[in-house]
Subunit: 319 residues, 2 copies
Amino acid sequence: MSPGFAGNAPAVAAIDWGTTRLRAWLIDGSGKVLAERRGDDGLITAQQKGFSTLLEGHLAAMGASAELPVIICGMAGSRQGWLEAPYVAVPAPLGAVLAGAARVPGQNRDIRIVPGLAQRLADAPDVMRGEETQLAGAGLPARGSELVCMPGTHSKWVQVEDGAVAGFGTWPTGELFSVLAAHSILKHSLGEHPAPVAVDSPFFRQWCERALGEGGDVTSKLFAIRAAGLLQDLKSEDAAACLSGLLIGGEIASAKRRYGAGDAPVVLISSGALASLYSAALGLAGLAFRSVDADEAVRAGLIEAARENGMIARTGALA
Amino acid sequence: MSPGFAGNAPAVAAIDWGTTRLRAWLIDGSGKVLAERRGDDGLITAQQKGFSTLLEGHLAAMGASAELPVIICGMAGSRQGWLEAPYVAVPAPLGAVLAGAARVPGQNRDIRIVPGLAQRLADAPDVMRGEETQLAGAGLPARGSELVCMPGTHSKWVQVEDGAVAGFGTWPTGELFSVLAAHSILKHSLGEHPAPVAVDSPFFRQWCERALGEGGDVTSKLFAIRAAGLLQDLKSEDAAACLSGLLIGGEIASAKRRYGAGDAPVVLISSGALASLYSAALGLAGLAFRSVDADEAVRAGLIEAARENGMIARTGALA
């Protein structure tokens, strides 16, 4: 038993390693969380400082032993990452995806990276990395159809059938917000430091509703935010709410058009401010939904991946 | 008669002064062009170096006299320009718009700036500056309904009824291309210096057709360009064609949805490479159109503005 972990020893380290962030947990053999760390050293930092160096630093800081195995999901498994964990083509059962984690060679410990998913359709190619692990940890039923919304920089909408990913799409909503706010003519409307968008902003709701009525057509309304600044004295904090409402409403309208509104409620996997905004927008769209916390989902998915790869035992309740 | 202008003396200088460019012509009393200059000293340069200094430099280089009157259209008339020429609200007859040019005070010569147009609708605010002059010079019939497409950084689609602007919309297609190519994840697909898009590129046509089938929904397909690079080995020059086709097709689909496909052919006011791309895209959309050269239209519009403001005589044929 490692010193410092009263009662339970860590059985695996679980790492969500994205483009800009890293989150790490130490997990015991029953799936219980013993320690947690968060850092800004995502893929971009790791490309410079080295993946192994960064990982070992986080593990040492959490008191992990030199033999503790590690399970990783996210962009660390991309071509620009530590080791390319080749995409699994959909349709794909989530359990089998997790079980196919790729082992990083030349390391003293057992380090594996969960593969991403690829949709190899000629007219709708798409990829995800990290979200497959969130999906596996979202507690979706083993039977039935689910439509899952995972908002973010590159929002994913996923069709899950009987525990397998049937298809998915990406809406770069978060990235569009950042890029348009910083580099387009809308920077004059939003100002240098766009205010966080309040979910109760009437501008967020109004522009979201406008977008919902346009079937995903966002580009025809972007310039109107600038014009509203010139003609209607729209304030910069309200302009940010307009842009957020327009882009989120547009994403939901577009996804609804592509996937239809099924019988089951949409599963919204998100956390923090984004969860509030998407909850409000799904409500405005008239879509029933149930919420799953994104942070908990990815951690539960990594624990499930550790089980699927034999790093911890199959039995034992989740933390 | 000024030295250097055999036969005809300049009666007015006509300036199209945009955000990044300036074009200047010397015009005789009959509307004939005597000299032309182009420069990169648009609004942004002028804000630093001074509007009067820049203008006088161009006029002197063309041999204009110190008394020659000047008519200007474009962003020089904006709030960030030389003198704000207040917007005229639509609906507005084009002749009356031109006649309302604002005189720049404190100048030795008569310098006037054509006002822009504002659409003061609560749910579709919009503005234009410069395009109103192009419209006036496009040779539109005095009677009947026309739908006009003016592609560019901020493309305008304009409904003209009996020579008056009834309404319009802006699609920031050119700006989206630039901003996404330079600052979004698509920069990895398009490369550092995106290739000019060839109108006969099968990628341009294919992605244009895809966008045309989506009613203006562009955001759902942006990430697919990145995914096609990862999964289908899409080359960078082809990625630029995909993005161009997607954005132009999306603009046309959206405008068609908003304005309908009327009986009369769309009037396409454009020039150069953009004219080729939009011609192809309008063809793919099944929209009949006739072409007007944008450079000639703005010059003809400025000459018309000079007439409306009494700077040159009403009679006399256009050059």
